[in-house]
Symmetry: C2
Subunit: 249 residues, 2 copies
Amino acid sequence: MGNIPEICVNCVKEKDECGKHLDCCCKNCFRLEDSYIFKHLTNIELDYLVEGKQQIQYKPGETIIKQNTSSTYVVCVREGLAKVYVEGVKGKNSVVRLIKKSDFITGGGLFNGNIQQFTISAVTPVICCLIDSAKLVKLFSENNEFAVELLRHHIKQNSNLVNKLVNLTQKYMPGRVADTLLYLKNEICYSNPFSIPLTRQDLADMSNMTKESFVRILQEFKVSGLIKTKGNSFEITDEKALISISRNG
Amino acid sequence: MGNIPEICVNCVKEKDECGKHLDCCCKNCFRLEDSYIFKHLTNIELDYLVEGKQQIQYKPGETIIKQNTSSTYVVCVREGLAKVYVEGVKGKNSVVRLIKKSDFITGGGLFNGNIQQFTISAVTPVICCLIDSAKLVKLFSENNEFAVELLRHHIKQNSNLVNKLVNLTQKYMPGRVADTLLYLKNEICYSNPFSIPLTRQDLADMSNMTKESFVRILQEFKVSGLIKTKGNSFEITDEKALISISRNG
DNA sequence: CGCGAGCTTGACGTTGTTCAACTAGAGTGG
DNA sequence: CCACTCTAGTTGAACAACGTCAAGCTCGCG
């Protein structure tokens, strides 16, 4: 990492050769409709934000941000899939969420001594931009609509965490597996037969159980005709039943 | 609720009789050192914020905010203790935190369609102020230091939720009970033999277990000489051991 | 004194983990 | 092309953690 030349993923030239680098990369990226956080920034503010940013490539398994370290940047994913997890007690990991193209994550360190709350690591090859968080803070002060979006972002994250807390602590295993499958389909893959490059261990870490237990529940769902699986491909064949299992715990 | 006359807790007159009501109540309240959220507001901004606020008394057990309802105010506690919890699946409740004098809570609804994420109910008699959240939003736009504090508040809440997620999902029961006892001592009561007007069921709801299990672990701690208990009074006699149990799960 | 709500204890059943064995598939080297 | 190896996935049996249910207890209060 770091010694791979920075490639502009839009024009496929190295940064040095690409005179309109900011225009063809960051602005396009931040203007994506998903990237609601940055939609209120002017071009000048965007230029300021991305000036001096680092665009880095990570290989699968590489750590992008390490929990409990201090770092002064926020991460914007341009390509690929990464997992955000907490390394807890007794070697257990809790995968809090997955992030993908145009997702934005502060790692919990903003306004908080820059101590990272999560570890973020690449699942597929990841290209992401590391942006100086001091610039984010400055724009927070200067552009009120941006500030509102940033606050909204954190409130939403809050809401997701509360839901996750309830799902993981109050439901039996089938409910938790159903939650994970529906999350992958509806919020990550956006398709029904979907394929996800996560190990069973990762999926178990999302569902607060061991990989053995996860596999067993998956097997139950298969014989009940709720899903089909083949390796890392999943198809939800009876979504209503799955939703019902999720709701009733 | 509501039909009890609004008493100024500082000058102990009803609101009507108390000409300097705002001065003697809200400003003193919001200027408390604990109330870091409001420390950057000018007097004029404070006047604006508290104009038209409702100061309400609740009896123990009464609901202050009900989950999934929409409400357009935020709550500032002036006196008493309240519990903030999520009503989840299968009739289970998860107590997320306790709030007390000069704590401030948005209920998760700010910038979020005003749908409340939590139920908040009074444990002791509670006096609290209900403030129009639209005013909070307006001040967020106008006073940047206040905006920073509000964001910081949410980031901190985020951090607490992540910790709670790890504590509740990755630790065995003794670790969770230890967490709850240390939380009560260090963040709510600020004293060592401490007394807390919560039922065993409430304490269990904070620790993600049944009241029977909570009692059993409490008993174990007692015979091991880590704590003493008598009704709702607790004394931590071997804090180091308790911290160690908390850390190691 | 008796009532009732909350607390405590014990026996038992269920949920979920651990550990070990086995399987499938992908890469490697002869 | 065929062993060989390595990793991830799967399965089963024993076990531990935790919940459920029922009974008994305590203590404040009328």
